[in-house]
Amino acid sequence: MGEVRLMKGNEALAEAAIRAGCDAYFGYPITPQSEVLEYLSREAPQRTGMVVLQAESEIASINMIYGAAGAGKRAMTTSSSPGISLMQEGLSYIAAAELPCLLANINRGGPGLGTIQPAQSDYFQSVKGGGHGDYKLIVLAPSSVQEMADFVRLGFDLADKYRNPVMILSDGAIGQMMEKVELFEQQPKGGTFPKPWATTGKTKDRQRNIITSLHIDPKEMENINLRLQEKYHAIEENEVRYEVMKIDDAEFILTAYGLAARICQKVVELAREKNYKVGLIRPITLFPFPKKLFAEIVPRIKGILDVELNAGQMVEDVKLSVEGKVRVEFYGRMGGIIPTPEEILEHFEKIFIKGE
């Protein structure tokens, strides 16, 4: 068993970055995730020699990631919603240049400057693009402090495997709350994936390496797009992750990710006490989305209630997955309000039991 500690989600994520062999972290303070930059500034350089630099803006930090990742190093940044918005240009370039790197969004309520309280309102931005052009991030949604740590190592490995940016989409509650976390052992710095494409100075035994996203010739540009789409398809085939709870005999499915899924675990318990056959599907990868699981379960169920801390974003992917074959309803709170299990159960009963 690894070392067990009581940690904040943000601290667990930072500690995991050191242990995952991250070479460089560039970040800018923003609530509710500033602990990551603080923790790393305090711990990382002396322990592993990790570069930790406070950038002048999120625009700068994402472009520093581009440079460091292009140089073949494990690079990472974290931020919260408004800061992640500023990074979208850089993310598009990173996805296009196929640079492996890790980001975490400790989502706060929006739009605009919004609130510093937790929300899930950046689902669309993370999963559907955010920046310009046809690209995808691999999006991991932790629902515990343990997963805040574990997904750092998983995220770096997926990034290196597919040469693709990975986003950990968390929220202010998971970032700030303290839980027991079992930490994995220190991994080799920089990971173990070969990166022959990295710009490290052209030696005589190889061609020059160019990191770019510019392809003026439309034929070439389309071919690159097609290759990217192929890669995203392979990710959809190979990397879907989810957790289920009591779905075998379920007549109704609750679905939620991250913090909302934790609340829904309690809702399942409360519903079962009332003899409602309710199960839970928690997508862990938001891209790739567990489409097949939803499609498979459709013939066995009467309805799906999707619960999110937003105005209804993942629910669109649920609907696309079931293709109108089953009733899909939505319940959400916004602006940093966290619904109670009782409130969600009441809504479930209203729709699916009382038929209102």
């Binding site: 630099l53 581009y66 292009g70 140089a71 052209k202």
Partner: protein
């Protein structure tokens, strides 16, 4: 053999007589890739590209150098330089270079940026990279106009200068004043070397090369940020012939942007 001799015997010389090793006075650096340049005739970019590659080859640092290309006319700089390079988003070259240099501190990093990239959209990245004293070279091409988008006002456009977005001449009461970013960053303690050169005459081309060489030497000595501003011509967007544009540099650009060292390392003062 002088020019006179050559003229006198013009008819007697065939190419194979002239092109022999003993007459060789100049050789194109191998790091400068031998393909057609996309730059307009008379443009200074090609000259600065060549100078960079000459210095890198002469200093034998090909395997140590990583370049960062901007967005602008020189977005394709990496097409001509046979070295490892990264293409940055518009204005972000010094942030990208920071990322590279911080993880590969033993390598030699340079950015190559135009005036719009460095002094408009990328001003924050430029100033903060300089203020951190990032140990790399910034090559700043100032031609006082947006070239790639075909002739709009740049932050360095001279007062009264006609561009497609200042069709009646740059009115500083509306658009503000040309930004002397070199003088500005020279104030920062992290910056070690700032100089302004040009490529409109042979002498100035030589001085530019010397400055590039010095900057790489300072980088090897970890002295901090070096910035070389090169006044360059843009015949196409200035609507001039190449010769007229060289004259414009001499008569209009240099009086406003005087050539010479703006900051040198302390021990050299």
């Amino acid at each position: 053999m002088d020019e006179k001799d050559l003229k006198l015997n013009e008819t007697e010389f065939l190419n194979e007589d002239i092109c022999v090793a003993e007459y060789l006075v100049y050789k194109k650096p191998e790091t400068l890739i031998d393909i057609d340049l996309h730059y307009c005739p008379g443009c200074g970019h090609g000259v600065v590209h060549r100078l960079l590659m000459e210095v890198i080859e002469e200093m034998n640092i090909v395997d140590k150098v990583i370049g960062v290309a901007p967005v602008g006319c020189s977005v394709f700089a990496y097409n001509y330089m046979d070295i490892d390079m990264q293409e940055a988003a518009h204005g972000r070259a010094t942030a990208v270079a920071t990322g590279i240099k911080r993880v590969l501190p033993d390598k030699l990093v340079f950015t190559y940026q135009g005036d719009g990239d460095l002094a408009a959209i990328g001003t924050a990245e430029t100033i903060h990279a300089c203020n951190r004293g990032e140990n790399f070279l910034i090559v700043f091409i100032n031609n006082a106009v947006y070239g790639m988008t075909s002739g709009q006002m740049a932050p360095t456009t001279l007062p009264g200068m006609v561009t497609t977005t200042t069709p009646f001449g740059r009115d500083t009461s509306i658009t503000g004043f040309p930004l002397k970013i070199s003088e500005l960053v020279a104030q920062l303690p992290g910056v070690c070397y700032v100089t302004r050169t040009s490529v409109h005459t042979a002498g100035n081309v030589r001085r530019t090369k010397k400055a590039i060489q010095k900057a790489f030497e300072y980088q090897m000595q970890n002295k901090g940020t070096c910035l070389i501003e090169v006044l360059s011509n843009c015949p196409s967007n200035w609507k001039m012939t190449p010769l007229e544009s060289n004259k414009f540099i001499e008569e209009e650009m240099i009086p406003f942007y005087p050539l010479g060292d703006i900051k040198v390392p302390k021990e050299e003062k």
